[in-house]
């Protein structure tokens, strides 16, 4: 294992067990994350992004269950860890920025106390004064003005954008190796989104943290990520560097996702572009390609055989899980190299 590899997930299988067939939210997902890398995971709602994030954080609660796969952090296997070991890792080596800042903070504890909690948890010996100094310093770093006084405020006295800054401060407090940001800006208005994203970008670089950014927003991906995983129905259907992916989409699903992105200077006339149909039911998956029922270029074989995972490195692209990935990539216009 390369020392530059921070996090590695191998063949993750996460199911939600309910009455009847289990819902297979994550079906054999593998990926790795290099030190300081910014990795995007994109997909529609219900594609398994958040279940994957919770699996990597060891925070999946019943009825969710990790039924297979391995999670490695710095060569240390985590998926077999007990709650005690997990909790010594969370907040120290892996942390989370939750999607909705309005509900991410305890309403009856001060902002400062909640930031202090994560520092104290992993450094019990820290003195009161040092702890306070660190809390104020973090608040300043994420751009909370008058931090000394505002540390004693409660969440309801902060706006949504300010609360998300606090959540970012908590996530970065112990300089984690990996920060998982699950749709960190969806609950915010557009101008605040840009500010928070900018902050996240700058601070994760400063703190040397690698980022897994979970989003359905291709614009955010283009701005933020080095590399992208595209998820559909619990599997990674395409993986490529951001520039490769925007230049060429080896998987028809990725292509459809990108064509659904609107550019303000090129607003379409008539109905907005969408991906026809609904995501496949995860408790009744088809035999063939999970995207086949919605795919505009499907052929007979797509509905019968599961597609292979095709390595496209020789063609200047990442990987894709499509029967026609090679043909599509060869036919693509010259890729930027």
């Amino acid at each position: 294992m390369s020392s530059d590899l921070v996090l590695e997930a191998k063949g993750i299988e996460t199911h939600f067990l309910s009455r009847g067939e289990p819902v297979k939210a994550v079906r054999g997902v593998s990926f790795s994350l290099a030190r300081g890398e910014k990795l995007g995971i994109v997909g529609e709602s219900g594609s398994g992004k958040s279940a994957l994030a919770l699996t990597v954080l060891g925070l999946l609660d019943p009825p969710g269950k990790v039924v297979g796969g391995e999670v490695w952090l710095h060569g240390r296997r985590l998926d077999l860890a007990d709650e005690r070991e997990w909790s010594s890792v969370r907040g120290r080596h892996i942390s989370l920025v939750y999607q909705d800042p309005m509900v991410a903070l305890d309403p009856v504890k001060t902002i400062g106390w909640q930031i202090a909690e994560v520092i104290r948890r992993h450094n019990p010996a820290i003195g009161r004064a040092a702890l306070r100094r660190r809390v104020v310093e973090l608040l300043r770093e994420v751009g909370v003005g008058d931090a000394e006084r505002r540390a004693d405020s409660y969440p309801h006295q902060y706006s949504g954008g300010m609360r998300q800054r606090v959540v970012v401060a908590m996530a970065l407090a112990n300089d984690p190796d990996v920060l998982i940001a699950d749709e960190p800006t969806t609950a915010l208005d557009v101008t605040t989104q840009a500010q928070v994203l900018d902050l996240l970008d700058r601070l994760t670089t400063d703190h040397g943290s690698a980022v897994i950014l979970i989003t359905h927003n291709m614009g955010v991906v283009a701005e933020f990520c080095d590399r992208v995983l595209v998820m559909y129905a619990g599997r990674i259907v395409e993986e490529a560097s951001t520039s490769e992916l925007f230049a060429h989409q080896a998987h028809p699903y990725t292509e459809a996702l990108l064509s659904a992105v609107m550019r303000p200077d090129q607003l379409p006339r008539g109905p907005l572009p969408t991906i026809p149909g609904a995501p496949v039911a995860l408790d009744a998956l088809p035999d063939g390609c999970a995207f086949a029922p919605r795919c505009p270029v499907r052929q007979a074989k797509c509905e019968l055989e599961p597609p292979p995972n095709v390595e496209l490195g020789g063609l200047g692209h990442g990987k894709a899980e499509c029967h026609f990935a090679v043909e599509r990539t060869k036919a693509a216009p010259a890729l930027p190299r």
Partner: protein, 347 residues
């Protein structure tokens, strides 16, 4: 700023509390004027002459206009003159004073015996969903709420005293051969413990156990159900996930974050339960011969000793109002969203 806000809240609560007490005063005054039976005749007996009754009525002020009587009644109550017990001739305040601490001790003990198990059980049941455990606990709570206190009291006596001989019979707060501890608060458990009379403490604890448990049982069921519902609601709040993502263990996240949030809505109910226990000891005291205010009221009702009953009704109203006011003020201290409402808006 926050302080002024709190002060204003407190003043508002105190005023509305005073109005409530005044209304209760009026009600208790009116009720006793409506009841059949003439206190003067009760005092003098059935053989008294009409003249002597008229004299006594004049002396007691019963021949004056009702508004005047009401005014005197309120003034006297709040200046501490609660009248005389017609039956015994002793001032009502003295009678109450002898009895009230026995009731307070019983009610406070029952409150702890209801609250602590209710909280513990609610935590266990909601921490991890276990259907059978939850169902059994809820069943127990419904039984607790539905069981008539006097029946449970008799049953407890029969089992604990008559059959098993492990608990004292209905003989009050101490065994006959044990003398009360030096008076500090009038709470025997407290007084005996802090003056080092541990044998007396043990005896008092042994005596208070059954009546307090019986009294606590319905409140336990009520508070368990309430805490359970509030904990279930808070348990799925996303901030608990965030707390756990900081490395706080699941149990600590539950105790330090879910519990305080779940406890806030329970505060009002706790106040009502405590007030209910303080004023609802009547039946239990009667069964266990507990020399408290409740037993005094039972005796007084039987003797048509209105002054005592009236004083008790008013006292109960004041207890309710005071506890509720305290709870409201406590909210302002405990819940930052109430405390800081209107002060320092979001940036």
């Amino acid at each position: 700023m926050a302080f002024r806000e709190t002060a204003r809240t407190v003043v508002g609560r105190v005023i509305s509390g005073a109005v409530t007490v005044l209304l209760a005063t009026f009600l208790s005054f009116a009720l006793l004027r409506v009841f059949p039976g003439d206190p003067a005749r009760t005092v003098l007996g059935s053989l008294a002459t009409p003249e002597s009754i008229a004299n006594l009525r004049h002396e007691m002020g019963l021949d004056r206009a009702l508004p005047t009587q009401f005014w005197i009644y309120i003034r006297d109550f709040f200046t501490g003159d609660w009248g005389f017990s017609y039956a015994t001739g002793v001032p009502v305040r003295t009678l109450m004073g002898q009895r009230i601490m026995a009731t307070v001790e019983l009610a406070l003990t029952a409150f702890l015996l209801a609250f602590i198990p209710a909280l513990a059980l609610a935590l266990v049941v909601t921490y991890r969903p276990r259907k059978w455990l939850d169902a059994s606990a809820r069943g127990l709570a419904y039984i607790a709420i539905g069981t008539p206190t006097f029946w449970l009291a008799l049953l407890a006596l029969i089992v604990g005293f008559v059959n098993w001989h492990i608990l004292p019979g209905p003989e009050g707060r101490l065994s006959v051969d044990v003398s009360p501890p030096p008076h500090i608060t009038g709470l025997y458990l407290f007084d005996s413990f802090f003056t080092g009379h541990f044998a007396t403490f043990g005896n008092a604890a042994w005596h208070i156990l059954l009546p307090a448990l019986v009294l606590a049982f319905p409140s336990f069921g009520f508070m368990f159900l309430l805490l359970r519902v509030n904990l279930l609601e808070v348990r799925n709040e996303p901030f608990l996930l965030v707390v756990r993502s900081k490395g706080v263990s699941r149990w600590w996240a539950f105790v330090r974050h879910a519990l305080p949030n779940a406890f806030l809505p329970t505060l009002t109910a706790s106040g009502l339960v405590l007030a209910g226990l303080l004023t609802g000891t009547v039946l239990v005291e009667a069964v266990f011969a507990w020399p408290g205010a409740g037993a005094l009221v039972v005796d007084s009702v039987q003797r048509q000793d209105f002054a005592v009953v009236q004083a008790f009704i008013l006292l109960a109203a004041v207890i309710y109002v005071v506890i509720n006011t305290l709870v409201d003020v406590l909210y302002g201290i405990v819940d930052p969203r109430v405390r800081l409402r209107g002060a320092g808006a979001a940036a």
